[in-house]
Amino acid sequence: MRTTLKGKTKEVIIDTEGPVIIIGECINPTRRKKLVATLEAHDFSYMLELAESQISALADVLDVNVGYPGVDDEVLLPQAVKALQERFDIPLCLDSPNPRAIEAALKVAEGKCLINSVNAEEASLQRLLPVAREYGAAIIGLVLDDDGITHDPEKRLRIAEKIIDRAVRAGIKEEDVIIDPLAMAVSADPDACRVTLETIRLVHDRLGHNITQGASNISFGLPDRENINNAYMAMSIMYGLTCPIANPEKITGLVRAADLVLARDDYAIRYIEHYQSNLKH
């Protein structure tokens, strides 16, 4: 299955057969005081710097989250989208829990964006699916519902099915639903990552949809976090993760290596491309 996203003109195809597409996570106020300070002053220069460095680290799509107390993301998210699209031709992933901010951003965005995220809560489905359809956006379907978070992979699979079913009935193309299996910290629950890996496997094998996840936090509360993140990322890709939301400066090398060993990178072209682009920096 192939999900196509689009910047102003540039198309990015996320294919369940790979290679892995990287959604850059860095435009996000968490632990980035400078981003908050500059956004509060309606100064987008630092945000554009973050975009630039992620693109040169081979991000394929950029996640855009400008939510922070005291900033009105209904105003700021569309402004951020415009500023990004004036400079860069890359698809965007609009990240906000506020549907009005998503809608306002879609109104001004060119191309085809990804919405981060819709979940199976009735309120979320009813509010966001029509918006996605109206603006022709793809969605990330996060596998939680009105009962909260389940730790049973089969139940997570059923929630994924429900989101896909409802999206299709709302007029969204099936391939435009990318599933997020909901990664959680392994420090608090030794089973947490296994549950998510199993969910990835089930969604990939039975539904055949593209799969994303923001997985930098699975290593919360443990030392040498990068080791854990890398092990988990490699296994997730093996099971069917196709478009992680991650920091490209840290993950691109690993992702390209994973594609190579899964025989998705003939002549190691993409792996070597990353190596050579690193030499230039």
Binding site: N28, T30, G67, G70, L144, A185, S187, A188, F220
Partner: protein
């Protein structure tokens, strides 16, 4: 110190739950917090003494080591589990009123936020410091916070937020709590929260780690 209490304290610190628990491997086949607490009570040591001399100091050491990055979340959870197994024997004395708690602490993760690890760690550490915990869970509305404070006069409250996008809900809940209960002590925490933000929204205390919350509560009780 009494040898039994010293042993119990070590069990809690290193997360040795009971005799059959295989963790930590170095303490395999030894008695754990569960058995030793029973023995201490049977030997006539008061629940208050067990708390003050064994459990609370153990959890305090755990909190300090965690703050210094010497131990990590899993070890903290092991310690908390050992403490809980000890509390099985202590709780009846709380319920009968024979042993007093230091106070009541209400805690929850704010509306729209489903993260519970930080909240749970803080709960465990504050319980380990001798407080009663009212855990409201995650995705807690302002109304629920207000209702809980109304039901527990004199309680202290802690709010957790793990997302920059839910900090706004933290601000709202704190504002409404402050309006309803001007003297309420409000603690806030979570990855994106800062001392500056705490001050700005009118909360009383921010701590970057659970031990900081425990130290603050110590001054209150």
């Amino acid at each position: 110190m009494n040898q039994l209490l010293e042993k119990l304290s070590t069990c809690v610190e290193y997360g040795k739950v009971d005799l059959k628990s295989p963790y930590p491997p170095a303490m395999k086949d030894q008695e754990g917090a569960f058995e030793l607490t029973r023995q201490a009570l049977d030997a006539g040591i008061s629940p208050g003494n067990i708390l003050e001399e064994a459990l609370i100091p153990a959890m305090s050491r755990v909190g300090q080591k965690f703050s210094r990055n010497e131990i990590f979340v899993p070890q903290m959870l092991m310690a908390a589990k050992a403490m809980s197994s000890s509390m099985i024997h202590i709780t009846p004395y709380y319920l009968s009123g024979e042993t007093k708690r230091r106070g009541t602490f209400i805690i929850g993760t704010v509306k729209g936020d489903l993260h519970d690890i930080g909240k749970n760690l803080v709960s465990m550490m504050i319980e380990g410091a001798g407080w009663e915990i009212i855990d409201l869970g995650v995705d807690v509305s302002t109304e629920k916070f207000i209702e809980a404070v109304g039901n527990h006069p004199g309680a202290v409250i802690g709010l957790s937020a793990l997302l920059t996008t839910t900090m706004e809900n933290m601000r709202r809940s704190v504002a409404e709590l402050r309006e309803k209960f001007p003297d309420l002590k409000i603690l806030v925490g979570g990855a994106p929260v800062t001392a500056e933000f705490c001050h700005k929204i009118g909360a009383d205390h921010y701590s970057p780690d659970p031990q900081g919350a425990v130290e603050y509560l110590k001054q209150l009780s």
